[in-house]
């Protein structure tokens, strides 16, 4: 037995020594020590990382985001018709890539799960050398990936994320958001709701149970209760529930006359369809017609819900039927490549890719702190939302908000929403301190 023990000790010793010897070269040769900042592009190309949901409740949005990213890369590299680069107020990008480097990209599937999203973002940063991560169609994922990018030291350009927390409580210096948030939705939607439904309504909330749902429920409650509405109940539903009938039945007996669906993607399609099938919209409660509100709308969802969206109010970041030059150029270029109009998810991600590339070009570097400084307080126009500003205090874009309604007489299967009101930026702006959180310092990676 003693012989065995000696062997084991010797074995452990030698294996430990072997481990150190093997580890040493990898540690010293690791990229992090060689460059001035993480993933500094040294060749002829620069790599963007597109992290979108390809499976799960938000897969439709993710697919559209990826199409938009591919289009944006084409335009930045000078292929295709240039899209919104022609209408963009900044003329730094010349259609020859960014800082003289051609843009290439890698993709990943977030699966609409924080874990999977972080794993695929890490892969793109550590293995593929991505200089920037962008995408996502869920606030939970966006916040998780934003935290990761901050820790790793790359810029995160948030995709479709609507929760206040992304640029509020959980904001990070390396993270930037073009999309609007629930605070703006509440401020824009409330006056329209008052005009159409009056000021003595009782609302019942069904809320997707994660950061975005909570945020939206809070904002809608805040603004509708200011109008004089009451809130009967706010019920949390799991993300991707599929069947909402058990949540809809109690609505009928709650005394509420408005149902607020804080759902998005396929959840919204399912919950709205089921609410309509239960005959909620034909009911009379408290002597008033029962109404349904979907605070965050997108064309993809409206299309999925079909007939059921007619006359239902909500807000959106952008809609393809807008008549300004930028929107027209984007719809034309996207339509030519894919054969149908882009969604708001596609629009915001396209803008984010262009805005990032433009900021790198203006800063003359890909260093996160340099790029961040170029984005802070950046004022621009021509990207479909009118004059827009990237506010320096919280890295949130401020622009006009669209209040939309499901169209009563759609002319095509894409023509499902009509713009009811364009709420000006001044009406939806709030002080950065309202939502709390700390940006902290930029991280350029070690």
């Amino acid at each position: 037995m003693s012989e065995f023990k000696i062997t084991r000790r010797g074995l452990l010793k030698s294996s430990a020594a072997a481990g150190v010897a093997l580890a040493a070269p990898t540690i010293f040769s690791s990229k992090a020590f060689a460059a001035g900042y993480l993933n500094e592009p040294t060749g002829k190309t620069v790599t963007f990382g597109f992290n979108v949901p390809q499976t799960g409740a938000y897969a439709d949005e993710g697919a559209d985001e990826l199409r938009a990213y591919q289009l944006a890369v084409e335009h930045i590299n000078g292929e295709g018709d240039g899209g919104m680069l022609n209408t963009f107020s900044s003329k730094a990008l010349k259609g020859n890539g960014v800082n003289g480097k051609k843009v290439v990209y890698v993709t990943g599937d977030t699966q609409t799960k924080s874990d999977a999203a972080r794993a695929s973002a890490k892969r793109m940063i550590e293995k593929d050398g991505a200089i920037m991560i962008t995408g996502g169609s869920s606030s939970g994922v966006a916040i998780a990936v934003q935290g990761l990018c901050q820790d790793a030291g790359v810029i995160f350009m948030a995709g479709l994320t609507h929760s206040n927390d992304t640029t509020g409580k959980d904001k990070r210096a390396n993270g930037f958001r073009h999309f609007f948030n629930t605070e703006m939705t509440g401020a824009a939607l409330a006056p329209v709701l008052k005009k159409n439904f009056g000021s003595d309504r009782v609302a019942y909330h069904l809320t997707a149970d994660y950061t975005w749902g909570w945020s939206q429920e809070g904002s809608i409650k805040k603004y509708t209760e200011e109008l004089g509405w009451k809130t009967a109940a706010a019920v949390r539903t799991p993300l991707g529930a599929g069947d909402f009938s058990q949540y809809i039945t109690p609505v009928l007996n709650s005394g509420a006359d408005v149902l607020v669906l804080n759902h998005y993607g396929r959840d919204m399609v399912n919950s709205l369809t089921q609410a309509v099938q239960f005959g909620l919209r034909d009911k009379q409660v408290n002597g008033k017609d029962f109404a349904i509100v979907v605070p965050l709308y997108s064309r993809l969802m409206a299309q999925g819900a079909g007939e059921n969206v007619k006359g239902i109010f909500g807000s959106t970041n952008w809609h393809w039927s807008l008549q300004d030059e930028g929107s027209q150029a984007f719809v034309k270029s996207f339509g030519k490549k894919y054969g149908f109009p882009p969604s708001q998810a596609a629009h915001t991600t396209y803008c984010q890719a262009i805005l990032y590339a433009d900021a790198c070009q203006r800063a003359g570097t890909f260093r996160p702190s340099g790029v961040g400084k170029a984005l802070e307080g950046f004022k621009f126009d021509g990207l479909g939302n009118g004059p827009t500003e990237y506010r320096a205090e919280d890295h949130q874009c401020f622009k006009d908000v669209l209040v939309v309604k499901g169209k009563e007489n759609p002319t095509s299967k894409f023509d499902v929403l009509e713009v009811v009101e364009v709420t000006p930026r001044a009406q939806v702006e709030y002080p950065a301190s309202l939502l709390g959180g700390e940006l902290g310092p930029y991280n350029d990676g070690k």
Binding site: S15, S120, K127
Partner: protein, 383 residues
């Protein structure tokens, strides 16, 4: 057939395993897996599968709820970070203990039944844990968003030792060595090697023999007056602790815990890993875990552009065909590839990848000994 003490061969296997794990970054570089995050996943899920194999491979009890212990471990580790210290050592100790505690509770109830009833019970318990993490326990788990660190966390031990992280969000570090990138991998790798050694000892112990006896004929044991339940429960708790440790390590390398780690698909994943690699073998589960994580991370990342490059050598129309056919199996279709591979393995190599390895080595040794006695059988138990 099954030795109950460590043999020279086992030591050799252990030495090779240790060297291979530590040299992972170099060995795996050529297949595109030599980057820290995936290496960490290999090591962590290797531990998870090793633990699962102690239960499933030895006793034959098929648990469909092991992800619950993984999730519990993650939540415990993140809470340890928040309340005590960013040092990974207390985090993984508490994660392991919590995994053990939960598995003791769930195992005590579930092991009253065997076979399919046991599987369904564990599945039910895991699903309960998942749903509770998602709904009523939201104050503890932060629901769908996942439990994350905040600058304002108390971190009592760190404060007591005067450690201040300043304005940035802290990340876990072992006495100053940050647990991200390669240091994080080596931390997980050392854990994996320790766990592998423990598993080796269990496989070669009288206790391991008893577990195998439970698998081959539990009734006979009962008739001879042996109470098998304590053995099975011990195996269940050990595997639960391995899962808790793996969950804790997931949080160490990336301080975030989400409920989706407890979902039944995650429980199914570890079953796949073990069967793919070879249930009841020592190395199999680790290899299975590596294979599945490799597919998940590398195959899901292939897009049309990469495929076009691969098939660039073909004429244009052939390239298009090849790309459109193969794109069904990569990117979002990686599950399809995994499913096909799994079917092939289960049909042709019921003993998993390890059976393939031993068949090849048998073939080689037979050839070497010139068709003699058929060579020495592989040291792994075949079940």
């Amino acid at each position: 057939m099954h030795p109950t003490s460590i043999t020279k061969k086992d030591l050799l296997l252990f030495a090779v395993f240790t060297a291979a794990v530590l040299a992972g970054p170099i060995i795996l570089k050529p297949i595109g897996a030599g980057y820290p995050d995936l290496l960490q996943k290999f090591a962590i899920y290797g531990i998870f599968a090793l633990g699962f194999n102690i239960l499933f491979g030895l006793t034959g009890y098929l648990s469909f709820g092991h992800a619950a212990f993984l999730g519990v471990g993650s939540y415990t580790a993140v809470w340890t970070f928040k309340l005590l210290s960013m040092n990974p050592v207390p985090a993984i100790i508490f994660a392991t203990l919590m995994g053990g505690l939960f598995s003791a509770l769930i195992g005590y109830v579930s092991l009253r039944r065997s076979g399919i009833y046991f599987s369904i019970l564990t599945l039910a318990f895991a699903q309960m844990c998942y749903n509770m993490a998602y709904s009523v326990l939201t104050p503890i788990t932060n629901g769908e968003t996942g439990l994350q660190l905040a600058q304002s966390d108390p971190r009592a031990l760190d404060v007591a030792f005067g450690r201040d992280y300043g304005a940035v969000l802290p990340s876990s570090d072992l006495f100053g060595l940050e647990m991200t990138g390669y240091p994080g991998f080596y931390f997980c790798a050392v854990m994996l090697i320790i766990c592998f050694y423990i598993t080796l000892r269990i496989f070669r112990s009288p206790f391991g023999m008893m577990l195998r006896a439970v698998k081959s004929n539990q009734n006979r044991l009962n008739y001879t007056g042996v109470n098998t339940r304590p053995y099975a429960l011990t195996a269940f708790i050990i595997s639960g602790m391995f899962a808790g440790l793996a969950g804790g390590l997931l949080a160490v390398t990336d301080p975030l815990a989400g409920a989706e780690r407890m979902q039944w698909t995650a429980s199914g994943e570890v079953v796949l890993m073990t069967i793919l690699g070879g249930a009841g073998t020592l190395l199999g589960p680790v290899i299975g875990a590596g294979a599945i994580k490799y597919f998940e991370n590398i195959f899901s990342a292939f897009n049309k552009g990469i495929l076009n490059n691969i098939f660039d050598f073909l004429p244009d129309f052939l390239q298009q065909v090849a790309v459109s056919v193969s794109s069904m199996f990569v990117g979002e279709g990686w599950h399809l590839t995994l499913g096909a591979l799994f079917m092939v393995i289960v049909i042709f190599l019921p003993g998993g990848l390890m059976e393939g390895v031993s068949r090849i080595s048998n073939l080689l040794s037979r050839r070497r000994s010139d068709g003699g006695s058929g060579g020495t059988p592989h040291p792994e138990p075949a079940e």
